[in-house]
Symmetry: C2
Subunit: 200 residues, 2 copies
């Protein structure tokens, strides 16, 4: 079976030694690739409509050659003012950012920009569902951390606190992401659990 | 008073001859500029969180000069697979596209791509609020058209129907956008009227 992006899923030898739950997050794919495939699958399954926003680019110079497409000849990467992913699920606005770290013991808060945190605060204030997906590569574990929990760590760093979230705190306060196939990083099941359980 | 983008609002002589209602959509600003300013003002007023998505670009070649920012040397514009604007308002997901036409009698459906219409359908199916903002430049009038109304015209063109929406139909089935200052294109008041009135 192929993923919608055409990549085949292939288990490596290493994977056979891992517990089943983890086997799909160890295919040499980045977290971003995993989420993009997940979004495509969820889209095909008609579960939600979530897209990654295009990379923001400041375009400076464009050539318009005759009889062919416009070519951007000079442009620069701009810092994103929001998070990377947003969309709609069960009528609710959802908005999230995904980051992975090679760090074993903590997740550095430098992975986020102040305006991204501000954006997430606003989303929560307006009734949206906001969260981050954090992968610890060395542990091969991926967590769902509600934005509200992130805010506490973010503020603490400006009050003389540490500039990272300890791995153990994320294990404790986050929710480990169910991983599987074909939905690799099943954030919807966590949203169901956290935000819709009461209503069912 | 200045807009958040630093542009001063200046009335032209021509404006003084127009009715007050229309005076702010005749400043030589494009619909896109009007909506961007509107979104900034609504954001500052803490009414909603709506952003324009970055222009999708396929990056082919990037230079990394020493001691300076990465420069994109070759890139191409990609067709957008979704609409341009989305965000959260009163807990609901909102999603829209804005187009203006120089046509006096009808709005050409070629302004939309099939996948944008498909995206809007999905948004509606998942409980989001989807609409288009259409400006007729010659009439200096801007309308809010709920996506559901657009779909009917979109389908009709594949059944031998016309490939445009008559101006009079938009006047009748759309809602003329309240325009003013500093909120130029007040789509939130139309959303309140159409989607939240029952709850108040």
């Amino acid at each position: 079976m192929n993923y919608p992006n055409g990549k085949k899923h292939s288990a490596t030898n290493k994977e056979h030694h891992l517990v089943k739950k983890q086997s799909f997050s160890n295919r040499g794919m980045t977290l971003e690739e995993d989420i993009n495939v997940t979004n495509q699958v969820l889209h095909q399954q008609n579960k939600c409509v979530v897209h990654k926003k295009p990379t923001p680019v400041q375009i400076v110079k464009v050539d318009y050659p005759k009889r062919s497409a416009a070519v951007i000849k000079e442009a620069y990467f701009k810092q994103a003012s929001t998070t990377d992913y947003n969309g709609v699920y069960r009528g609710r606005y959802i908005d999230f950012e995904a980051k992975e770290t090679k760090n074993k013991t903590a997740f550095p808060l430098t992975n986020f920009h102040a305006h991204q945190i501000e954006h997430m605060r606003e989303v929560v204030a307006h009734g949206g569902i906001s969260f981050v997906i954090i992968r610890f590569q060395p542990h091969n574990r991926t967590f769902f951390l509600p934005a509200m929990k992130l805010f506490a760590y973010w503020e603490r760093q400006y009050k003389g606190g540490r500039k990272s979230i300890p791995y153990q705190d994320i294990v404790e306060h986050g929710i480990e992401m169910p991983t599987g196939y074909p939905v690799i990083v099943n954030y919807l099941s966590v949203i169901d659990q956290l935000f819709f359980r009461m209503e069912e």
